[in-house]
């Protein structure tokens, strides 16, 4: 695989496991930031309709070579939806400017000063592409502050629970499953 594409790691495999438990064959699935396409390709085998996005030109080629239909776009920007399931392993590492190395892999890793910069941009746009009863699976690290991510999702009207977790080299990786908080949706709002 091209050296500018994020290689599947522990976070990839944790999210993959959760995705295979979650997906239904009738789902239309969006994988945001599909990278190597490893997760999208496995989900495709369940019979679901899957499309992957990436901003990285090498990643969309890599995912396509695994049989995944791909679109080069920023997060979900080029999609109207609706999707039944959205899967995202975001760039979540907190970074300072001197850490950054300005290449395509950085897009796959760099979460800004608090690790949540890309997650916030994504969540802001999620309502637009998610079906009314759609589900999100989001990989979050303890480095990114799980509670802060749940609060962020809550502030945009989503309720999230942890469905899987795993310790990994000094951090804990979590899979959050989020849906619209339908109890808080009121008519006329």
């Amino acid at each position: 695989m091209h050296d500018q594409v994020y290689q599947p790691e522990a976070d990839t495999f944790l999210l993959l496991r959760a995705a295979l438990r979650e997906v239904r064959p009738t789902d239309r699935v969006l994988e945001v930031g599909t990278g190597s396409g490893r997760i999208a390709a496995a989900v495709l085998e369940t019979g679901a309709r899957v499309v992957g996005t990436d901003i990285n030109p090498y990643a969309v080629l890599a995912a396509r070579s695994c049989g995944v239909e791909t679109v080069r776009t920023d997060l979900a920007a080029g999609f109207a939806g609706p999707f039944d399931l959205v899967v995202f392993n975001p760039p979540y590492l907190p970074t300072v400017p001197e850490d950054r190395f300005d290449d395509w892999l950085e897009y796959a890793l760099d979460g800004g000063p608090d690790g949540r910069r890309v997650i916030e941009r994504f969540v802001r746009d999620l309502d637009r592409v998610l079906a009314p009863y759609g589900r999100l699976l989001l990989l979050v690290s303890s480095l990114t502050d799980l509670d802060a991510v749940r609060e962020l999702l809550g502030s945009y009207g989503f309720i999230a629970i942890v469905v899987d977790q795993e310790g990994c080299e000094g951090e804990t990786l979590y899979v959050l499953r989020a849906m619209r908080d339908l109890c808080r949706v009121t008519s006329g709002d």
């Binding site: 239309r28 239909e69 080029g78 999609f79 109207a80």
Partner: protein, 59 residues
């Protein structure tokens, strides 16, 4: 891209609907062509089967 993907795509800038122009396709999908935004007029290429829906001018 497969033809029915068009139903769920939109302009990444203004979220307008897209009009497909096909230059080359096979039995499964569109290989070369373009997507034109009906609302803002931006045009997005499809190259080697992959639509590029980055805002025009960004590479």
């Amino acid at each position: 891209m497969r033809r029915d993907l068009l139903d769920i795509l939109c302009c990444p800038v203004c979220k307008g609907g897209l009009v497909l122009t096909v230059v080359e396709e096979n039995d499964e999908e569109i290989l070369e062509g373009s997507l034109l935004c009906e609302a803002c007029g931006a045009s997005y290429p499809i190259c080697a089967g992959i639509p590029n829906l980055l805002p025009p001018g960004i590479e």
